[in-house]
């Protein structure tokens, strides 16, 4: 018998196991993960309260600062906050 045929037979014997299959819930799981997540009404209220409180606290903390410093803080802080938010969202999407 040709060497290739011998190895062919040996390989067929060694790998003669049932091929695994995807679970039936695979599609549903994937689609659930890619669907955009929406905040619940309660979540929106919490975020809203947090934003108002954070803005008030920032304004109070920076009340004595000169306008240039406030502007510089916004110019530096806003891109960092936006970048971090996008990064975290990206991680959450791919997890």
């Amino acid at each position: 018998m040709h060497d290739d045929d011998v190895m062919d037979r040996i390989l067929r014997d060694a790998m003669a196991a049932d091929a695994p299959r995807l679970s039936p819930a695979f599609d549903a799981r994937v689609m659930q993960r890619v669907r955009p997540r929406r905040l619940t009404p309660m979540g929106r209220v919490v975020i809203g309260v947090y934003l108002v409180a954070a803005a008030a606290a920032a304004a109070w903390l920076m009340r004595d600062l000169r306008p240039e410093w406030v502007g510089a803080a916004l110019v530096i802080g806003a891109p960092i906050a936006a970048g971090t938010s996008a990064y975290v969202r990206r991680i959450a999407m791919t997890r």
């Binding site: 060694a14 091929a19 695979f26």
Partner: protein, 200 residues
């Protein structure tokens, strides 16, 4: 550009990959992406399990899920230079390789296939033991081959894929796949002979 209306669900299966990608990109059409998942889930899973090996079906399913999420996330950056399938299979191949590199220390799950391969009482136990030793040696030798040979062998001998199917999944010409299989058999023959098994 205003978002286009989602297509009728019944029509997705008849549409081309390019059309589905456009629908996903322009209107985030969930039905179009569901059709992409339906078309590519099985080959992606097979590519993943062919890299990870027998006993790692659960991990391969996780890889397939991660690949689909990555595809969804990256469709905007897909420029269409390669076929959608080739692009998805490349992601699957790399994702499975990454997982394999991270999980080398883990033992495979004992699945139904192991139980099916358990010795049967009708044959001589000595022969069964010899056969089982050779099977284990073959599987151990396969694990030492280059990844692309491993994948081609498992796709062909375990998952029953044809050479043309493997060529699509590994994004290689059919002759190259035939060459992978031929070289892999040659290498395995040498390795088995070195380990004292009759492979000629």
């Amino acid at each position: 550009m205003p978002p286009t209306a989602p297509a009728e669900p019944a029509s997705y299966a008849d549409r081309s990959d390019e059309w589905l990608v456009e629908q996903c990109r322009e209107s985030a059409d969930e039905g179009a992406f569901a059709e992409i998942v339906r078309r590519y889930r099985t080959p992606v899973f097979r590519v993943a399990v062919s890299i990870l090996g027998q006993g790692f079906a659960l991990e391969a399913e996780d890889v397939a899920q991660d690949v689909m999420l990555r595809v969804h996330h990256s469709l905007r950056s897909f420029r269409g230079e390669a076929k959608l399938g080739s692009w998805i299979y490349r992601i699957a191949f790399n994702q499975a390789l990454n997982l394999k590199a991270r999980a080398r220390y883990r033992a495979p799950h004992v699945g139904d296939e192991s139980l099916a391969a358990a010795p049967t009482p009708t044959r001589d136990p000595h022969d069964q033991l010899q056969d089982e030793r050779r099977r284990q040696a073959v599987r151990a030798c396969i694990d030492e081959l280059p990844e692309v040979y491993q994948s081609a062998l498992r796709l062909h001998y375990w998952l029953g894929a044809s050479v043309s199917d493997i060529a699509v999944m590994l994004d290689a010409p059919e002759n190259t796949v035939k060459s992978y299989l031929h070289r892999a058999r040659r290498l395995l023959q040498v390795m088995l002979t070195e380990r004292g098994f009759d492979a000629r």
